[in-house]
């Protein structure tokens, strides 16, 4: 086996906003920090966020932001996490601004804020409609300034995890340029791999959003939290699912059905188009299903921006204007554009505490393993995320995880010298060549002799299956059918073959490995959804249309035991525990 072994203090997987924010903190604490990313950091999907980032800048305090977030989460968010998120927000905006982010401003020089869905006041700071790009550049560039070691176009295959000790000691990764396998031993590993929208056929997500860490977590017998909560954004471009930001409605755009009626006024008379995303998505979907859709296949509704006028559109929404024009051939100045709900964000993910420390299905810490950003579940978004809270979450909790890692490692170094025992009281295990064998096995499975057929048709099947059965509306029959068919897909996957044998940018192999992860966490979405017999936030069961607070005001924890799915439930953390946790953060 041709394996390279190296050592670092910290390995961070993913270089979007969360990963890079964490790296910056680790680097400032003089830790050796390696960031692995399968795309260049500036190509991360954080940069695609359009609308903005929430912060109670000019409000009396942050309580309104907190209350909106909790209400928006359909009361499933952990109160202490939300408190942390909202309190830190103004500081994050100031920090970004000080380090170069060019936020749009009011004529008095204040940072401009636009109204976003389900929030009582205009609280979303923005840089035109390229907020994510500006934030990502700012944080990445500061990381460059600090000299973070970015390994671009490296793909992570596995975690080095010792289940007996309950301790992580590194990762296995592949350099995509030459397919060389590397073992990187580290005191702390942070996953920040982002969302998994690619598991659905209609998605706003980038090709890179395959949620790799989630598959790796499940393969190692660890748990995922609240996977049934998948956000569908109400306004994706009808043909492709590519996002038209909530900023459009924030600036005043209308949603219209085939008879030209502003149908949202019927579903939520108070907030109209600016209701929370789960409600607007369900409304759009209902209009379409009941035959009031528009477009050649009647599978869309209209988003009408014409009354905003050319000046506002070109000044505040320039990207949206050119996207609708290029991708759908529709000029939003003269005509309403066709939009439909699209898979957008994963509220669930790897369970962590307020410091990014990963927990297992019992809620106890997995030493050495951290997670932040969309791949993690703290949980600040509960059953439904508010627009403008995702960039914020990535930075706030990325930073917190980075700081926690830094304090643990420097503390350990202070007591025992560098590389000393970690908090678990045990020495970090040494990585050996054998640790790479699961990764090699995974790869060679795709090349063994008698197999044939490609995984690409299977991937398409899975994506369509998820959109149809684990989409906006779900039911027991649908989810059970999905479970059965997923089982079939998983079985067939082992009989497929990767034809490309080149070691250089073998994207077919990479996509096959990504798909393998997808099959694992798709099971988590389906099973968690099947067992939550209520409707809450983005999880909407046609057979259980109401809340069931008595049984389900709790977080779902999903993991595999001997390849069998196991579900546990943990209570939502209360405001009281928030008070306790605030001390010493």
């Amino acid at each position: 086996m041709n394996v390279a072994i190296e050592k670092s203090d910290v390995v961070i997987v993913g270089a979007g906003l969360a990963g890079t924010s964490a790296a910056l903190q680790c680097r400032r604490a003089q830790l050796k920090t390696v960031v692995l990313t399968k795309v260049h950091p500036l190509r991360s999907h954080s940069g695609a966020a359009q609308g903005g980032i929430n912060a109670a800048l000019y409000e009396r305090d942050t309580s309104a932001h907190r209350n909106d977030t909790i209400k928006g989460s359909d009361y499933l968010a952990d109160r202490d996490a939300v408190e942390t998120l909202c309190c830190t927000a103004p500081e994050i905006i100031a920090d970004l601004d000080m380090h170069g982010a060019v936020f749009s401003r009011t004529s008095e020089g204040k940072i401009a804020q636009r109204p976003f869905g389900a929030q009582g006041t205009a609280r979303t700071c923005y840089a035109k409609d390229r907020t994510g790009l500006v934030c990502l550049q700012t944080v990445y560039e500061q990381a460059v300034r600090e000299g973070v070691d970015f390994r671009c176009e490296w793909y992570v295959l596995d975690l080095l995890y010792d289940p007996l000790e309950g301790r992580v000691y590194g990762v296995t990764a592949m350099d995509l340029r030459n397919s060389r396998i590397h073992l990187i031993q580290a005191e702390a590993v942070l996953f920040a791999t982002g969302g998994y929208g690619r598991a659905y056929s209609r998605t706003s997500n980038a090709h890179a959003n395959t949620g790799d860490a989630l598959g790796i977590i499940l393969r190692n017998g660890l748990a995922l939290e609240d996977m049934e909560f998948v956000q569908f954004h109400p306004t994706g471009l009808a043909d492709t699912g590519i996002l038209i930001s909530e900023a459009a409605r924030g600036e005043g755009a209308y949603l219209l059905n085939s008879s030209g009626e502003r149908f949202m006024l019927g579903y939520d008379p108070g907030k109209g188009e600016l209701s929370s995303r789960d409600i607007v998505s369900r409304a759009c979907e209902t209009e379409i299903r009941e035959g009031r859709g528009v477009g050649p296949r009647k599978d869309a509704v209209y988003l009408d921006l014409r009354h905003l006028g050319a000046r506002i559109i070109k000044e505040r929404l320039p990207e949206l204007y050119s996207m609708a024009m290029t991708l759908q051939g529709e000029n939003m100045l003269d005509q309403p554009i066709r939009v439909a709900p699209t898979t957008h964000y994963s509220m669930g993910g790897i369970p962590t505490d307020l410091h990014g420390q990963v927990r297992d299905h019992r809620g106890s810490p997995v030493y050495g393993l951290f997670a932040a950003g969309e791949c993690a579940c703290v949980s600040v978004h509960g059953a439904n995320r508010l627009g403008g809270n995702s960039l914020l979450e990535a930075i706030v909790f990325g930073r917190r995880a980075g700081r926690r890692i830094a304090s643990i490692l420097t503390e350990a170094a202070g007591h025992h010298g560098t590389g000393g025992p970690s908090r678990a009281g045990s020495r970090t295990r040494e990585a050996t060549e054998d640790d790479a064998s699961p990764a090699f096995r995974r790869i060679s499975n795709f090349y063994s002799g008698d197999q044939q057929g490609s995984f690409y048709p299977l991937r398409k099947q899975l994506q369509q299956l998820m959109t149809a059965e684990a989409g906006i509306f779900r039911s027991r029959e649908g989810l059970e059918d999905a479970r059965r068919r997923l089982h079939g897909i998983a079985g067939q996957l082992h009989r497929t073959k990767v034809k490309d044998t080149s070691p250089c940018f073998n994207t077919e192999l990479q996509e096959a490995l990504e798909f393998e992860n997808m099959v694992l966490y798709a099971a988590a979405i389906i099973e968690s959804g099947l067992h939550r017999r209520e409707s809450r936030g983005a999880h909407s069961r046609t057979d259980f249309p109401r809340h069931d607070d008595e049984n389900y005001l709790a977080h779902t924890f999903f993991h595999f035991e001997e390849s069998e799915p196991v579900l546990d439930y943990h209570p939502v953390r209360s405001p009281e525990s928030a008070q306790e946790k605030k001390i010493g953060t």
Binding site: V39, A48, D97, H99, R105, T106, K110, L327, P503, E508
Partner: protein
């Protein structure tokens, strides 16, 4: 709408195979709103799984999928096939951005590009000012906010960020870099993307990094290498117009007087001086001004030009009649 057909010739290569490159030909149909990337994905998932290219966001914001179609750099995800067919006809040739740096199919080694980006010090160094001092940066807090203090929300006049002129919306796709004819000839040239990045920070009132202007004025790597062909502006998929930024830096470097910048810079300032003095171009003194002692190397050519009547050496060459007006115009245009 009925699909139309297109023929794609796609560049194929694998650095590990050591064979020379080839083109694979695919006849396909495309729909009204299909982008080039949609068609490539169709090939990748249904016809030839080994075709490799970079892609991610699908809507022109991540900058991964820049490639050349019939020689023109485009972002595959936001270039409708119908537009390409309208421009080039139904036969399209798809190439990597830079054939000399290709490693696999449409994937190039971008290390050089990123190295130049890093060399331009692409990060803000926050100004440290007294909170009470006047000026646009007045309320920028000087303290790093890591200490948990309640931060001051900075006040910056909206006008003061307008000078950045969208330069911060560059997505680093490398299209301008691939289109620039100077880059292959002058490997040290930073190129339009990195210089646009420098511009972005030079124009930021919050930046305190010293010597950015001197760096872009440096001979061999900086703005003087630009030959003003406007290719970068022509191909930029985000309409950032790198050329106008570069040309504004030209003027600023000259005005700051900080950098002589070698022959090209002296040629520019000599040109200006010439016009200011006489309202006419007097080439011989201009050449001496720009090349200094290196004029020796031009001696032979100079003599031959003189003998053929191509070189007029007349230090007393008269002024243009309207030279005052020219001078006034030049002053005003600054």
């Amino acid at each position: 709408m009925a699909p139309d057909s297109v023929r794609l010739n796609i560049f194929r290569y694998d650095a590990f195979r050591g064979e020379s490159h080839s083109y694979d030909c695919y006849d396909l149909t495309y729909h009204q709103n299909d982008q080039l990337l949609d068609v490539l994905e169709m090939i990748k998932t249904e016809i030839d799984h080994s075709l490799s290219y970079r892609r991610s966001c699908r809507h022109g914001i991540c900058g991964s999928c820049a490639m050349k179609v019939n020689g023109k750099p485009v972002l595959a995800c936001s270039t409708p096939v119908r537009d390409l067919v309208r421009e080039f006809g139904p036969k399209l040739t798809v190439d990597p951005l830079d054939q000399s740096r290709v490693v696999r199919d449409l994937i190039c080694d971008m290390d050089m590009f990123w190295e130049k980006y890093t060399r331009s010090a692409p990060f803000l160094e926050p100004v440290t000012v007294q909170a009470s001092s006047p000026g646009p940066a007045a309320a920028v807090s000087a303290e790093p906010l890591d200490d948990g203090k309640t931060p001051l929300i900075p006040l910056i006049f909206s006008g003061s960020t307008n000078a950045i002129d969208d330069a911060d919306h560059c997505i680093m796709c490398g299209a301008c870099y691939a289109a620039c004819p100077v880059v292959p000839l002058q490997p040290d040239f930073l190129g339009p993307a990195a210089i646009t990045r420098s511009y972005r920070f030079i124009k930021d009132v919050r930046d305190a990094h010293p010597g950015r202007l001197a760096a872009v004025g440096e001979a061999g790597s900086g703005v003087w290498e630009c030959i003003k062909c406007l290719k970068c502006t022509e191909v930029c998929p985000k309409q950032i117009d790198p050329f106008s930024k570069l040309s504004r830096l030209h003027q600023e470097v000259l005005r700051s007087g900080s950098s002589p910048g070698g022959i090209r810079a002296r040629h520019t300032s000599g040109f200006q001086l010439n016009l200011l003095l006489n309202g006419l171009l007097n080439e011989f003194p201009l050449a001496v001004f720009a090349m200094r002692f290196r004029m020796i190397t031009m001696l032979r050519r100079g003599i031959r030009m003189f003998l053929h009547g191509k070189l007029v050496i007349n230090p007393l060459r008269p002024r243009s009649r309207g030279y005052r007006q020219i001078r006034r115009l030049m002053r005003r245009s600054r």
